[in-house]
Symmetry: C2
Subunit: 630 residues, 2 copies
């Protein structure tokens, strides 16, 4: 291991912002076509190079005349002029208007030489070759003079202007087809984990491979901030190759990002490359998450090392890196990038450093925004999707009180609270019903967490299959039944007949986790079997090989059975059916959709209730489902 | 002319929304790569097809063990286990952990068969081939089980989900490389004016050609709303060709837009194509602007005809068409698409139909948003750039009071009030100084409109070259001088010597408009000359050919002279210099930057003052400029 520069004290968040601000990310100017200019930022001032309009232009359909010929004319006593020709829009006039003459002219046409006013057709009549003008005109009437809209030499747009539809309008009026815009900073994202595989490639789970989440998440953040992301996947567990990729990224990009690797060797390589080719500006920042953040230079490029946990990587990216990319690209922080809301629950905290708390949004029954901390316990990916943004909690804050107003820095502008937030059973019918609700959020964490989060004032809705114990006050929005039992290999090779077989035969069983309502149904049925047999329920449980081998979602036990890792798994008939597995029925349970009483009238909650009520087609399509309560 | 269906009554705005909503713009589903998925909308539900993680994963660096081997172990009395191997992240374990055994394991590695817990390295020691575990573990400790984060079969993302960084994260965790997204509605924009030319092409101003503004402006609006714009320029004044282009657009696009043409023949062609191949749903809506709006179908496509004035086209597009495109694309109305503010001035209105009033934003000295009507008189392109959005004024509103709160529907989300809003002289030094201020808005309408708009509480700053008459209370932020005179052809072929030559010789002169401070300086100097000669100023004015031939911006007279359309023009030495023209000096005038007293402390106003104070380089670079007051 190379010697590492020592950074004994963690840097302050301000120092980290300054270190990143000191890095030069700004790319040069590039030229894009007008059609590609929207959303870009003008690199330099554009003065008008021509007059708009470029000629004296008729503002109405009518006749081009000499104003002094009409002095004194009115309805009763029109001026009589000789019609000498006509002028159409887009055509050069082939007529000159002399004293006592008029030329027919259409809107937008060039006012012919000699004429100094246009009279609208409504104020005229014709008699043979004569035009009768029934009004008196002043010179310039109904003419838009050349340059009256935009004059050549005028300042049109300044540097730094973001190009939207209206700027496109001005540019096209000036005939500008190529627009000088600020370049997008190029951001290389170096993938550092030996175990990371690109989405779309085959995953070898037995070798502990996982798909690369951070590279793609951060790349999306880079693009949203106005940068151009380039992914540099690294080829296997080879330090020389890793070093080559880092150097290549540093050569090709304005900024290089990597996110925390589980492999110490990757960090060593990064250190070495920074020491040989750049400068380490800081290592470690007094924020949570992000303590291990690295900031430095790599050759002429900037380098920032992000934490490895996806929500943390996105948080540090959003807080420290995205503003620097936006500055370099000249893009302002978007409107709607923050929202304020009241804490839905109390959150204790006492670590003495600035914390970026991942937070979800939910609306109460009155449409007020509530903010709740997203539990890291849910798993990295689930937390990533549940978190709408982060709340910056100052180091000296001991707790955020329930109801306290906080500001959430959103992970993407335009993120909104879901219309309905449910927690509960993982259920295939529910998955389909949720498709009929706009912007729902649902966490399939099981019946108990569902009721708990409704009780805590976080979730709107709990979906439970456990009998209602009445401890949490709710309103039932709807319910259905599902047949459950044992999922076995196709053809039931072990001749499993029911729960008795689990107890009596030498079968490897896979259970669901204790939060699952299905497990409660299993336990209750086992208690009945124990009564029948005159033994303790505990005796039966101990006789089942794998009763404590618990997995989280409705298909998980079945998949273990199909993978040959178990002989029977707790599951639904619908799951066995969908996966072409065998099924031994045990019972039918009722799944209830329960709302917090003060959230029952939220539009999204009502839509979910309607989806359940109208869900006959969904229940019909799934084996073992029905709507007669068990 | 073909017979037209009669629509005697104007349709209500609601009917127009309904007619457009009745058109089917929705494109099919398409598949994009993960890298291109940001900002798109998921077309269908995605359930997880695999477990995340896909294996039982060590959460820390340490040792994989059997938990029951550690029961009762603590600091003082560690469990002693035989070290039997090691497991790295990304590599399949080649070891099995038996009773009394341990395997070294790194974070993220696969927990080897036999082990059911991981102890973190900090709670262990090694002695030779033995691992001393100084804590008691429960089964499952420090292991993230397969599917604990996301389980196969779980609902991952629902249809209609907008894909941001976090959804990219979830998709990559699931290994999804190709994402089914809603197609973007294809919107054909048919250019209909005979006189329209594409930006980048050569303009024949003598033939009354102008660049096509609406097609490009509306195209940018289409893209911003989530559609894909296609431009169909039409080739000249040929009805058959126009008809062919319309039919082609209808065949290729989900929606066809055209914007009001000045040529009646284009409207006739549109009518004929709609009648032959579609259906006219409504013609004319009781809104201002937009009365002539057409809604119909063309073959299988929808058709909407927009007004021709650019701000009106953008208004009708934003109000009626963009929501339909967003709906079809599945994109929600962006946050920040509206702002509220107080009317800066009173606005009278009594037309009895809904009016979309183009409005600009400005902030008062306290940072409150003010809203002012954008004057159509400024010219089509200038209005387009000045208008930040529109205020919907109900038909029964007779006036909007000064201070009344109104809601502005912005033309682009993230549009903000300029940091400083100035109106006044068109001046090349000012154009450069404004480059040093972020997001300024400046209208070069002349000294008088500048003072008037400061007095009205609309503009922050007036830039004048007329002597201060004290009628508007202001604070002077800075000033400079500029030399003015007569711009003549290079070499001064007519031997112009000064204003006297204009009076005495047969010269064609070009003046500036009456709002220009330069014209005031000219008039004052002519008055002096009249005194000298003992005549009336009016006599001199009448002797000048073209004294009333007035153009708007500082370069305009010079350009007329260079184009051979005049022999002398009112202008600046700097302009003559920049355009390589001749120059006959007449005088020096002072340009003053004056702020409304209650706006003088706005940050943008202070930045402008600083830019003037530090503008020495700008004044040095321009001929005839200085900072010693005249």
């Amino acid at each position: 291991m190379t010697d590492r520069k020592e950074f004994r004290d963690l840097a302050s968040p301000e120092a980290a912002h300054e270190a990143i601000a000191s890095l030069d990310l700004a790319p040069g100017t590039e030229t894009v076509s007008l059609a590609e200019a929207r959303g870009r930022v003008l690199a330099e001032r554009l003065d008008a190079a021509l007059d708009v309009p470029g000629f004296d232009r008729a503002s109405v359909d009518g006749y081009a005349v000499r104003a002094h010929d009409t002095f004194g004319a009115d309805e009763a006593d029109p001026a009589r002029l000789d019609l000498v020709g006509e002028v159409h829009a887009g055509v050069e006039p082939d007529v000159t208007v002399g004293d006592g003459e008029a030329a027919e002219i259409s809107t937008g046409a060039v006012v012919p030489d000699g004429a100094d006013a246009v009279v609208m057709v409504e104020r005229t009549d014709t008699e043979g070759d004569e035009v009768l003008v029934r009004t008196s005109l002043a010179p310039g009437d109904r003419i838009m003079f050349a340059g009256a809209d935009v004059a050549a030499g005028e300042r049109a747009l300044g540097p730094g202007t973001e190009i939207t539809a209206r700027e496109i309008g001005l540019l096209s009026a000036l005939g500008v087809a190529e627009v000088p815009v600020r370049g997008r900073p190029t951001v290389g994202i170096v993938s550092t984990g030996d175990e990371l595989v690109r989405p779309g490639e085959t995953l070898d789970s037995d070798a502990g491979q996982i798909y690369d989440v951070n590279s793609y998440t951060v790349a999306a953040g880079v693009e949203a901030a106005g940068g151009e992301a380039r992914l540099y996947p690294h080829a296997g567990d080879d330090r020389a190759e890793m070093e080559r990729v880092l150097r290549e990224a540093a050569d090709e990009c304005d900024l290089v990002l990597s996110s925390g690797s589980t492999s110490a060797s990757a960090v060593d390589v990064i250190y070495r490359v920074i020491e040989e080719r750049g400068d380490l500006l800081l290592h470690g920042v007094a924020v949570k998450p992000g303590k291990p953040m690295l900031v430095g230079t790599l050759g002429g490029s900037a380098y920032v090392g992000l934490p490895g946990y996806p929500v943390s990587a996105l948080t540090i990216f959003r807080t420290f890196v995205a503003p620097a990319i936006r500055r370099a690209a000249g893009v302002p922080e978007p409107e709607g990038a923050t929202v304020t809301g009241a804490m839905a629950v109390e959150e204790r905290y006492a670590e003495g450093r600035l914390r970026y708390m991942p937070a979800g949004l939910v609306e109460d029954g009155d449409g007020n925004t509530l903010v709740y901390p997203v539990d890291k316990g849910s798993g990295a990916t689930t937390s990533l999707v549940e978190a709408d943004g982060v709340v910056a909690v100052p180091p000296d804050t001991e707790y955020l009180a329930k109801g306290e107003t906080v500001e959430v820095q959103l992970f993407a502008p335009d993120v909104r609270a879901p219309t309905v937030f449910g927690v509960g059973e993982d259920d295939p019918a529910l998955a389909r019903l949720l498709d009929r609700v706009e912007r729902p959020r649902y966490l399939g964490q099981g019946s108990r967490p569902g009721l708990r989060r409704v009780r805590d004032g976080v979730a709107d809705v709990a979906v439970t299959s456990a009998p209602d114990d009445g401890r949490v006050e709710t309103v039932e929005l709807g319910a259905w039944t599902r047949e459950w039992g044992l999922v076995v290999p196709s053809g039931n090779p072990d001749g499993v007949e029911g729960l008795g077989s689990l107890v009596d035969d030498d079968l490897r069983f896979v259970n669901r986790t204790t939060d699952s309502g299905l497990r409660t149904s299993l336990s209750n049925t086992l208690a009945d079997l124990a009564d029948e047999r005159g033994v303790e329920r505990r005796d039966l449980v101990e006789a089942i090989d794998g009763f404590d081998r618990a997995v989280r979602a409705h298909e998980s036990p079945a998949r273990r059975v199909l993978a040959g890792k178990a002989d029977a798994g707790l599951g639904l008939r619908a799951t066995a059916d969908a996966l072409d597995a065998g099924f031994v029925p045990v019972g039918t349970e009722t799944v209830r959709v329960l709302a917090a009483p003060d959230r029952a009238d939220k539009p999204g909650v009502r839509r979910l209730a309607a989806a359940v009520a109208d869900g006959g087609d969904v229940f019909d399509a799934l084996a073992g489902y029905g709507t007669d309560k068990a």
